[in-house]
């Protein structure tokens, strides 16, 4: 029997096997592996820190700052926002319904599940967006994503979730994986005249000073939001935090709750899965 006759069926079978089970591409998205590598990076860089301590941002990096923060936490600067948020959350809309009607478990202890991927819309939904959608559905005017009302509401909701582990899911939907990948790309992409990416500060520089600030680690950074910043003299939403980061690199910020920002929040929150919610936080 000629050799070709023997080899050809084997080659055909091999080709068919490759079609049925294509080898995974080296750069195929793998959120589980990404999150593992992310946590390993920080655990190696800061071997004395417990993983759950990263949610305390710069306070986990400096002993002096930690002491100051612990004293400050006895009369936390976000307390007024927390009270305001609690009251706003309980106050009925003009139609008699409340925020509690828009959320699972009446909105209590659910912050750790946001953002989530909405398979109907094919988009990431953040807590800020969900709150405004709730308002819209009940005939109320939308809140600004960067001002006090939204910060107070999210502060209260975060407070009811304190200690609960971040629990972001990526459903078996290619669009969800794409949103995750887009968020990752945004995180690592350099932008602005200063040529900084989010990672430049929050992966390469945590614990180091940038002018007067000690940079926070990316791991756990979303768990502390929203935050009271002494620099701002008030509370700031996640949207405000992202916009400020862009401006500081001299990049023109995107619109709050643009797809890019929502995807970025999705990616970063997923990286911190398992770490406790610590928001609302306070930062210098």
């Amino acid at each position: 029997m000629p050799v070709q006759v023997l080899i050809l069926p084997l080659l055909a079978a091999l080709a068919l096997a490759l079609l049925v089970h294509p080898a995974p591409a080296a750069d195929a998205p793998n959120p589980v592996a990404d999150a593992k590598a992310f946590k390993t990076y920080f655990a190696t860089k800061f071997p004395k820190l417990k993983l759950e301590d990263f949610v305390n941002g710069p306070y986990s990096m400096s002993e002096d700052m930690r002491r100051q923060w612990q004293e400050k936490e006895q009369f936390p600067p976000y307390e007024f926002a927390l009270e305001a948020g609690k009251q706003m959350f309980a106050t009925p809309f003009k139609n008699g319904r409340t925020y509690a009607d828009c959320f699972p478990n009446s909105g209590i202890g659910i912050r750790q599940n946001y953002p989530y991927f909405d398979e109907k819309q094919g988009k990431v939904v953040t807590l800020e967006l969900a709150l405004n959608r709730c308002r819209e559905a009940n005939g109320e005017a939308l809140y600004s994503y960067v001002e006090d009302e939204m910060a107070s509401l999210t502060a209260y909701m975060a407070f009811t979730s304190r200690g609960k582990p971040m629990n972001i899911k990526i459903p078996n939907d290619p669009r969800a994986l794409e949103a995750y990948e887009d968020g990752k790309r945004y995180f690592y992409t350099r932008r602005g005249q200063l040529n900084f990416s989010c990672a430049s500060c929050h992966i390469q520089g945590p614990g180091e000073r940038l002018r007067a600030e000690i940079l926070a680690p990316a791991l756990g950074i979303m768990n502390a939001l929203p935050i009271y910043r002494s620099e701002w003299g008030g509370m700031g939403t996640t949207s405000r935090r992202l916009i400020t980061c862009n401006s500081q690199t001299r990049a023109v910020p995107l619109d709050p709750q643009s797809d890019e920002y929502r995807d970025l929040e999705y990616y970063l929150s997923y990286m911190s899965n398992g770490l406790p919610i610590s928001g609302p936080g306070a930062r210098p």
């Binding site: 592996a33 590598a37 602005g192 990416s197 001299r250 023109v252």
Partner: protein, 103 residues
């Protein structure tokens, strides 16, 4: 031609030359500003505008409104250079971001 006539003719020539120079400067400014805006629009399409480009464009317009076309052209050229740098950055980062990824 009398001396007075010569002086008047010379003044007329000078005025004409000055007007032409001013007109040329304004046209140059418009061209420089247009080039800068085009580059900035390309940066915007890449979602990568820089705040410094905006500042330079505003400075160019302000100087032009005040009739200082030399300053206006200089600011417009700055804006164009900044916008082109932001386009270069966005194009390069399309693949380069992966180099920084934690794996």
């Amino acid at each position: 031609m009398s001396m007075i006539g010569n002086a008047a003719f010379a003044a007329l020539l000078l005025t004409s030359a000055a007007t032409q120079a001013l007109a040329a400067s304004e046209a140059d400014f418009k061209a420089a500003y247009e080039a800068a805006k085009t580059a900035d629009n390309r940066a915007a399409a890449l979602h990568n505008r820089w705040t410094t480009t905006e500042v330079a464009l505003t400075a160019a317009k302000t100087a032009a409104a005040a009739g200082d076309f030399d300053a206006a052209i200089a600011a417009a050229k700055d804006a164009e250079a900044l916008a082109k740098a932001s386009i270069f950055q966005a194009t390069r980062e399309k693949e380069r971001w992966k180099d920084a990824e934690i794996r």
